[in-house]
Symmetry: C2
Subunit: 154 residues, 2 copies
């Protein structure tokens, strides 16, 4: 039930290339699960992530740029993601008083409510991973961090 079986690929040129494929595959696997969870709420994974980022600000506004820095997928267009959330009346967009180039984005009560609902489903889903144990999960976080960090130390 490892990556080899999942992708029906018996051998990889190296352990490193296997790890690369495994990391991409695992990331996609999670995103696809989350996509399913979020479908009933009418949210895409990216919209959900932006909402969570805004909630993390405890009621304080964030500029679009600040949101971008915190997004899991830096490539997608925060400006248009915010558009969608404004359409759904989950967030508020207003000119930033300190810097009129910037735009402040603020989560609305409706957005917080929706997140609360999603949290229920999300928590149940996440419970599966508790079976691994905190120690093993810490190892996973450690090793993924190492994997990215080894790049800077070249």
């Amino acid at each position: 039930m490892g990556i080899s079986e999942d992708l029906k690929q018996s051998k990889f040129p190296s352990e490193a290339s296997k790890a690369v494929v495994n990391a991409i595959y695992t990331g996609n696997w999670i995103v696809q699960q989350q996509q399913e969870l979020l479908k009933p709420f009418g949210l895409t994974v990216q919209q959900y992530n932006v909402l969570r980022i805004l909630r993390g600000q405890q009621g304080n506004p964030m500029t679009v740029l600040a949101i971008t820095e915190r997004m899991l997928d830096k490539m997608s267009n925060a400006s248009r993601l915010v558009d969608k959330l404004v359409e759904k009346k989950l967030v508020l967009r207003r000119e930033c008083p300190q810097d009129r180039r910037a735009v402040d984005v603020l989560i609305l009560p409706a957005g917080l409510d929706l997140l609360t609902q999603v949290d229920q489903v999300q928590n149940d889903w996440g419970k599966h991973f508790d079976a691994l144990g905190v120690k093993r999960l810490e190892e996973m976080n450690q090793i993924l961090d190492e994997f990215r960090t080894v790049f800077s130390h070249n």
Copy 2:
């Protein structure tokens, strides 16, 4: 330089939710790097993966369905990906003699040549990860496999 710093998020509700975010983030991080590597070759990451899958067949054709099963991102449309590769004259598409519903796809010498070129760049890039050591990379593969597998054993 861990995930907390990368996403400027000081705390996570649990180690599991941190691992979920970390896995998605790491996967995206790799994909974005690969995107950059592939840009000069005019290939998307998905197209590159399909080409590698076809190369793995050692000259044998594969149906579109078989390709889909081996793709890292199951969501994308193998039929249209193959279209693009046919346009670029990197693969050949022909009716499968055994089953006329199916379509055989075969990598062409031009496709193999292109992959050889990409391999050069890709190998250099992948070398960064060798610094982790084979043992650590094996641990990473092991733990990612566990992470996905724990789901089936609920």
